[in-house]
Symmetry: C2
Subunit: 202 residues, 2 copies
Amino acid sequence: MLAISAPSGAGKSTICRALLKRNQALVLSISVTTRAPRPEEINGRDYHFISVIAFNDLIATGGLLEHAEIFGHYYGTLSQPVAETLTAGRDVLFDIDWQGYRQLQSKTTDDIVSIFILPPSIEELERRLRRRGQDSHQTISNRMHTVANEISHWEEYRYVIVNRNIEHSVAAIQTILETERLRAHRQTGLRDFVNALYRRKF
Amino acid sequence: MLAISAPSGAGKSTICRALLKRNQALVLSISVTTRAPRPEEINGRDYHFISVIAFNDLIATGGLLEHAEIFGHYYGTLSQPVAETLTAGRDVLFDIDWQGYRQLQSKTTDDIVSIFILPPSIEELERRLRRRGQDSHQTISNRMHTVANEISHWEEYRYVIVNRNIEHSVAAIQTILETERLRAHRQTGLRDFVNALYRRKF
């Protein structure tokens, strides 16, 4: 389980897209949301867009691994696809905020590899947020305040990457994934090898 | 602090030499020992060869970060050079056994990056141990039993590398070092950056 969080404007979406393109073993967890799709968004690719009634049903039936409310809209992660992907031996990428990450941690005994992405500078962050043409002034202003709040949680993550350059950031995450596969507790296949070695009489 | 352990014959010494050659920021901690030098060993490069009396003095004056007895000989790590290297902003490589690693953990609050290296197969391990011409049959036999004991501690380490190929193993450790530098708690310089970002009024 790989969780990536970042404040709006840090470049998280671009980084996640590049990561998924290069890692066939990595599958994006597609969130459900009650908010309306943006013009460029496609149902089932960017989000599963559902009604508030359907969302409440999912909560009631334990169908969500985590959920949160952001600016009056609900967001959540479906439990079943995550379980299926992990069982198939693939990794799941969670593109979530700090609230979602906290819930994920409390809902699973799995060791989650968590990465927080920071924008390179305050000026660059502001520039990126203002460039999104389709958002109203109020939305941008709200998002600016959320950014400060989101960033205050950076130390809860295992790794931090300052996104000065998309290529470098993606390469850094690839390096993290390679390293995490070398963790002793993930190399479950080694136990048999070591046991055979240990039983052998010299 | 980077601690690397392995049973005899896993290829640890070759890997450590290659690592030090490629990482100018990495400094080997040279152990003190009371055993006699092997023909190819040089005092001050491979070990500081000292008397049992001098060793006991070091223990008494708190000059050792860790120490252990192996086959009637004493081995230890000098505290002062380690502290000086870390203060200078460089990393210290500890080429130690599981006993030394345990002591190191108990003597420091620093987060130690620990790696255990395994031989590729039992047959290859045996072949490597027998090839060391200068050792007596008894020494080889003793070492074989120590190997099984050493290997039983592999799960106490953060990472495990099966040394099928020196080049690949060295590359894997380089990847681990790059990744560990991205750990949130190691990026102390980020705190100022984030604080400035957080204080900013949008």
